[in-house]
C-alpha cells in the first residue's frame, strides 16, 4: 500500500520538503510566537491553539474505517491500523451526523456549518466552524483562516462559509499560497498595496453614504434587506483595517523554494499531499491558526492510484461501487493511502517540539466527511477522527448508530479547546460526551 514518489522535479515531495521545513521554519516560528504573545495576552504561557479541518466529500468505505468495538481497548480497524503508531493521539468517533442535513452530495457544503435542509428551496448556508472561531479570536495572525482545496470546484464547493451564508472560495494553488504567506513585497509594492487598501476604504465610505440616503426612501421590508448590505460593508471595512496593519508587518522567513503548481487532477494524492504540506507550513509559521482543507473527490476524474495504475472510473463513479469487487478494491486502496497521508501529518506535528510540549498537543486535526456511505448517498454515521489538541485520546467513542449524536457537539468541544467561549454551535447544544481534555 505504500506510495512511491518518483517525480521530485515537478512537485514538492513531502519528505525533502519537511526536512527543509524543520531547519528553516523552527526559528521564525518561535519568533512569531514571541511577537504574537505580545498582543495575545491571554495566552502568554501556553502555545497558541490551532486547528486543521479536513473533509473528503465522498468519505471512506464505512466498514474498514470503523472499529468493531468501543472504548479504550478497541481493536484498530483495517484503515486505522495505518495510524497504529499514533493510537494514543487520536479518537475515532462513530454515530455522529448533522441532524436534518441529508440529501446526498448537497450536504458537502454543510460539513462545517451544520445548516439544516441543504436540498430545500431557499436554503441558505450558515457560518462555518472555522469562520466562527476566527470571528472570536480576531485578527491575531496575518490570515484569520486559510481555506484550501484539492481538485476543488471552487465556485460551488467550500468548507468555509460566512455568517450570511456566502461561500468563501478555497485556495487550490500551492505557489500562490506560498507567495501570500512568505514573499515580501519591496517598498514600492507595499506602498502600492497600501494605496490600494486606502482606495478601498474610500469606496466603502461612498457606499455607506449612498446606502444611507437610499435607506430613508425605503419600505420596512426593503430596509431589512439593505441592512444586510450595510452589515456586509461594515465587515469588509473591519477586514480592511486588519489588512492595513498586517501589510506593514514583515512576513515570516523561509529558505524553501516556492512549490510548483500541480494542475493535473489525475495526480490526486500528490495534490492532497502538497496541500497538507502547505497547511502545516501555514500553521507552523503562524500565518494562521485555522486551516480548512476540502478534498473534492466528487470533482476528481479518473486518477492515478499508483505510478502505473489508473482507476477505472472517476472518483464519484467509483464511490457508487454497487458492491462491485473491482471498484471496492480501488476505493480501499485510495482510502488507505489517504489515511497514510494523514499519519504523516500527525507524525510531523508530534515530532515538532515546542518547549515541553509537542505541536500536536496544541493542534487539533479533524478528518471526516459529510458522507456516511457514498454508495447509498447516506449522510448519517459520518466517519470522524479527531487527533491532537490535548484531548485524552486513544479510544473509539461509539454513539448510537440508529439515533445519531449531533456532530456539532464535537465542534463545541473543539471551539472551547481553541479558547472560544461558546456553549453551542450549529445544531450542537453542548460538548461531546466522553471527549475530555487530557493532563
Amino acid at each position: 500500500m505504500q506510495r512511491t514518489y518518483d517525480k521530485p522535479l515537478n512537485f514538492w515531495s513531502r519528505r525533502p520538503f519537511l526536512r527543509g521545513l524543520a531547519v528553516s521554519l523552527a526559528l521564525p516560528w518561535l519568533e512569531t510566537i514571541e511577537s504574537v504573545s505580545a498582543n495575545d495576552k491571554a495566552n502568554t504561557a501556553e502555545p497558541p491553539r490551532r486547528m486543521l479541518l479536513i473533509s473528503n466529500n465522498l468519505g471512506v468505505l464505512p466498514k474498514p474505517f470503523f472499529p468493531q468495538d468501543a472504548g479504550a481497548d478497541y481493536e484498530l480497524s483495517p484503515y486505522l491500523s495505518e495510524l497504529s503508531a499514533l493510537r494514543d493521539d487520536f479518537t475515532v468517533i462513530s454515530g455522529l451526523s448533522h441532524p436534518d442535513v441529508a440529501g446526498g452530495h448537497s450536504t458537502e457544503n454543510c460539513f462545517l456549518t451544520a445548516a439544516r435542509g441543504p436540498t430545500r428551496s431557499g436554503f441558505r448556508n450558515s457560518i462555518s466552524l472555522d469562520q466562527f472561531a476566527a470571528e472570536t479570536l480576531g485578527p491575531v495572525t496575518r490570515f484569520p483562516t486559510l481555506n484550501l482545496g484539492v481538485n476543488i470546484d471552487k465556485a460551488n464547493r467550500s468548507l468555509s462559509w460566512t455568517r450570511d451564508g456566502s461561500l468563501l472560495p478555497a485556495e487550490d494553488s500551492a505557489p500562490s499560497l506560498f507567495r501570500r504567506m512568505f514573499v515580501q513585497g519591496n517598498p514600492t509594492e507595499v506602498a502600492r498595496q497600501m494605496r490600494r487598501l486606502d482606495e478601498r476604504g474610500s469606496i466603502l465610505d461612498t457606499l455607506m453614504d449612498d446606502a444611507r440616503r437610499l435607506e430613508t426612501r425605503l419600505s420596512r421590508n426593503d430596509r431589512a434587506r439593505l441592512d444586510q448590505y450595510l452589515t456586509s460593508v461594515r465587515e469588509v471595512e473591519e477586514r480592511l483595517d486588519s489588512a492595513r496593519e498586517w501589510e506593514q508587518q514583515p512576513k515570516p522567513v523561509t529558505d524553501r523554494t516556492p512549490p510548483d503548481e500541480i494542475t493535473d487532477k489525475k495526480l490526486f494524492f500528490e495534490k492532497f499531499d502538497l496541500m497538507l504540506s502547505m497547511a502545516q507550513l501555514a500553521l507552523e509559521s503562524d500565518s494562521t491558526r485555522i486551516v480548512t482543507l476540502m478534498v473534492d473527490a466528487f470533482a476528481t476524474p479518473v486518477f492515478e492510484l499508483h505510478k502505473d495504475q489508473q482507476t477505472t472510473d472517476g472518483y464519484h463513479n467509483l464511490s457508487h461501487h454497487g458492491q462491485s469487487e473491482e471498484k471496492v478494491a480501488q476505493l480501499k486502496d485510495a482510502d488507505r493511502q489517504q489515511m497514510s497521508l494523514l499519519r504523516e501529518v500527525l507524525q510531523n506535528f508530534a515530532d515538532h517540539q515546542h518547549g515541553e510540549r509537542r505541536l500536536l498537543d496544541s493542534t487539533m486535526v479533524l478528518y471526516g466527511s459529510n458522507m456516511g456511505d457514498s454508495n447509498t448517498h447516506d449522510n448519517t454515521n459520518l466517519p470522524i477522527l479527531l487527533a491532537g489538541g490535548g484531548f485524552r485520546h486513544g479510544q473509539h467513542l461509539a454513539f448510537d448508530r440508529e439515533n445519531n449524536t449531533p456532530l456539532s457537539n464535537l465542534f463545541v468541544s473543539m471551539l472551547q479547546r481553541l479558547g472560544v467561549e461558546a456553549d453551542q454551535f450549529g445544531s450542537g447544544s453542548g460538548t461531546l460526551t466522553g471527549l475530555d481534555v487530557g493532563p
Partner: protein
Amino acid sequence: MTFRARKPSGADVSGDVRATGGLMDVQPERANYETTVRLRTGETFEYSLLGLPVPLARNVDGGPPTYRYPPFPDDGQPGVAFQQLDIEGPLSPDTWPPPSHRVLFGDLPIRKSKNGSVLRVEVVSENPQHDARRLIRGFIERAARQPVSDETRETFEQLILYRLKQGATFTEAMLAGYEAFLCSGHMLYLHEPVSPQADRSDLGTKADVQYSIASRLSHFLTNTRPDPQLLDRARNKQLLDADILRQETNRLIEGNGFERFVENFTDYWLSLRHIHRDEPDVRLHPEYRFDAYLVESMERETRAFFTAMIRQNYPVSVLLDADFAYVNDRLAQHYQLPPVSGSAIRKVPLPDDSPYGGLLTQAAILKVTANGTTTSPVVRGAWIMERLIGQPPPPPPASVPAVEPDIRGAKTVRDLLALHTKSESCAKCHARFDPVGLALENFDIFGGWRTQYRSLAEGKNVSGIDRAGHNFEYTLASAVDASGVLRDGRDFQNIHDLKKLLSADPRQSGRNLLQQFTVYATGTPVRFSDRREIEKILNTVAMDGYRTADLLHALIQSEIFQGPHATEAIP
C-alpha cells in the same frame, strides 16, 4: 466529418485538452475551412475528429506506435485529405482601443503608466475634474436600470475627485468610482414592481413601475439590464400598453440576448448544467467511451428545441411528445434515424414508430436523470413528474433507507421496486412517479434505445473492440419490461402508450411551464393566491392549444409579472 480545434488545458497536464475555437464540417467537395483559435504565449493547438472512432495508440515493446481500431463497417470509414494548413497571427482587434475601454474612458489619449501603478497603461486627461464628471455621468446612465438622481451621481463624483486629491492617477480614480457604483445598491438590487399604495416611498411612482417592468422583462428574457430602447419605452410610460409590451417582448425573444435566457433557464429547469456530471461506465457502455461530441450534441439539441418551442410557438404538448426532433449527424445515429451530414443541429421529421420526439425522451434529459452506470425508474420518474409534468413528489419519510445500488445482476430494478408496494406508506407515493420511470427503462444512461439490460455477471456474452480501441466485454441480462400502471389506473405497455396518456392533458403541461417561467422571472414560486390568475392565463391560451410563446406573453401581461398595479387605469 467534423473537426474541432482544442488546446492543452495546462502546461504540465498531458492528455487533458479542452475544446476551443469553432467546428469544421468537412464536406465531400474540396474547400477551404477556417477557425479562429485564441492562444496565449506558449500555447499550442490541435484538431480533433468528432463522432468517429479514434484509434488507441500503443508502443509495443518500445517500437513505433501502432494503432488499434474497432472493426470497420462494411462500407468503410470516411476519410479526409488535407493539402495545406495556413496559420495567421497575431490577429489585430477590429477597433483599438476596444469598445469596453471607450465606455470607461471615451477618446482620451493612452500612454504607458509611470512606475508605481498597478495598471500598465493609463489615460491622460487635461482637465481631470471636467472629464471625471462627464465620464461617470455617462457610465451611470449606461449601467443603471433606471434614472439616478443628481444627488446620487454627485456622491460617486465626489469619490473620484477625492481620490484625485489623494494623489491617485486619473485612471485609478475613475476606476475607483466605477467600482463603487458597481458595488452599490443601485446595481445589486432589482426594484420589483409594486403598487404605489403598498409602498409609501417614491419608488412606487408610475415612472418607477415602468422601469421595474422594463428591468424584470430584460432580466427575464436576456439576463441583463434593459437596453436603450426598453428604457426609452419606460421613460415614455408605454410599458403598461399591452400592444407595446408585446412588441418589446417579441423583440427580446428574436434578439441575440435571448440565448442567455435559453441557456440559464434550461440549465436550471432541465438540469442541463449537470449534463457532463456523470461519465459513462465504459465497462457496461463501451460505445460511449470518450464520446464528448455526443454529450455536447444532446445538450445543443435540447437548447435548440426549447428555443424553437418559443420562437416557433409550438404547443406545450411537445414537452411530452412530438413528431419531429432537432438533430445533427451524431444524434441522428444515436436515435437510429436516417443519416444527416454535419454538426449543425436541424429539424427533422420522425418516423411514426420512433420512440423519440418531445423533451421527455431527449438524450440530454435521459442522461441527467441517470448516473452513468445505471438508470433508476424512481429517480427518473420523480424528476419527470416534478419538472415536465409539474407534480413534484412529496418528500420521502426520514426513516427510509435508499435502495442500495447493486450492479451484480442479482436483482432487476423491477424486483427492487416491487419492495415498495409491500409497504403501504411507500407504495402511496411511489405510485405517483415509479410508473413514468418504468416506461423510460427502454432508454439507457445516454438515452440510447435498449431492449435488454447489460451486466457484468450473467447472460449472453458480448465482446469486441470499442470506439477508442479498447477491449470490452459485458453480458446481455434480462429483457426490459417498460409496462406499468399510472396512479389513476390507466395502463401502458411502453413509452408510446405513456406519451399518449400524458399528452392528453395539455392544460397541466401549460400550467407546469407557467410555474417554471414564473419562478424564473419573479424569483418567487407560484403562490396559492396566484392560482386564479394562472387559470385565467391558461383560459386565454386554451383556444389555440396552449402554445409556448402565447403562455409567455400572457404571463408577462399578467399581475403575477407586473404586480398588482396593472389593474389600475392607465393615465
